[in-house]
Symmetry: C2
Subunit: 225 residues, 2 copies
């Protein structure tokens, strides 16, 4: 059985593998805000539990068991976030810290019941996919709003950054997942875009913001559940 600390290492390794591919010790250490020797010794102990393949000076890779365990923790995290928002009526900007703790609870029935109550959601409140019980994570094919050309209509379906500050910014502009956005124009100089949606016929969003909004061009595609 993994300790909460080990679970956090596995989660970080899973997420790094999904975004980078190759994982180096320093990336792991900086992601977890621990020193290199700390990460190094934990890596050795994760190997001993058969969750990680490790060879001196080589990139790190999760074993199938490590990947499965990591996915199950991420599943618990994302189900919890969804539960907090949908059932307990928290804002999407308030749920990360609590979920970060609840993901370490050992109680399969608890999370299964959440899943049931939520109707087996495919994604968390920020649009990140929820791995299934097997640990399989559906790969999403969204693109950043910043890559969309003027005139196109897109559906806002996920965020590539979910910091509370960013989420509060989105709240302040009335932006939420599922919205249909129309790209009115783009500014070559600073990558800002003018976007229309609902009661906002022309809202200007900075390049930084547009990079973090993940959208789907086929408006008819799967609505978030």
């Amino acid at each position: 059985m993994a300790s909460p600390t080990e679970e956090n290492y596995l989660k970080a390794l899973f997420n790094l593998a999904n975004s980078q591919g190759e994982i180096t010790l320093s990336e792991l250490a900086s992601r977890l805000e621990v020193s290199l020797p700390t990460a190094n010794s934990m890596v050795k102990s994760l190997q001993k539990s058969n969750w990680l393949n490790y060879e001196k000076y080589k990139p790190l890779t999760l074993t199938p068991e490590g990947r499965r365990l990591a996915a199950s923790i991420i599943r618990k995290h994302r189900l919890t976030e969804m539960f907090l928002v949908d059932v307990m009526k928290f804002g999407w900007e308030e749920v990360h810290e609590v979920a970060e703790q609840i993901e370490h609870i050992h109680a399969p029935k608890f999370f299964d019941r959440m899943d049931e109550m939520l109707g087996h959601p495919a994604a968390d409140p920020h649009g990140s996919p929820i791995p299934d019980i097997e640990g399989k994570l559906e790969q999403q094919s969204y693109v950043p709003l910043s890559s969309v050309l003027p005139g196109q209509k897109v559906q806002l379906l996920a965020l590539s950054n979910s910091s509370a500050e960013f989420l509060e910014f989105l709240n302040s502009r009335g932006l939420s997942l599922g919205l249909t956005l129309t790209v009115i124009s783009t500014e070559r100089f600073d990558q800002s875009m003018v976007i229309g949606y609902l009661e906002h016929p022309s809202e200007t969003l900075s390049g930084k913001v547009c990079e973090r909004l993940l959208v789907c061009v086929q408006t008819a595609a799967a609505k978030i559940t």
Copy 2:
């Protein structure tokens, strides 16, 4: 900030103080299933944090801060149990283990929201009182069913033991909190009692069971909420 381990010690000290008064090291150690030296060293460290008064060879007493902290953990535990039963529809025999883990989550808003959703319950699903935010625990004046005389009508309001086995036994007899029980007769030989309630005109309960059922003789008294 207390670690989960420290929180478990404080909880045990609080509960022992409420049932015994004087707390000895060995009681604490056996309650927590740790060795005497382990309890001894933890007791010293709890003293350093000002949660416990400790003098060599003297009984242990919580400080006001220790009592407040312990009550807040018990509050989280009992609110969680109530939430699991009322909102998530778990049986009262399934909730202890999960609550034992969730009580260590640091997220006041999470528990406040539970409390709201539940309508500020006074007791958990087993009838144990929920301490208020100040850490005050309402003293209940229930008596064991075993002390009730034949002919009397009482209301079942709490349990003095909530093991899963006992709860499953109660389920099997259709016994739940809030029920009105009529004591039909008592058996002097083995302290068993014949009890009537709902569709059970005459159910025989062992002395062991009757000792663990806490009742109130005034049927008109506060219904459980």
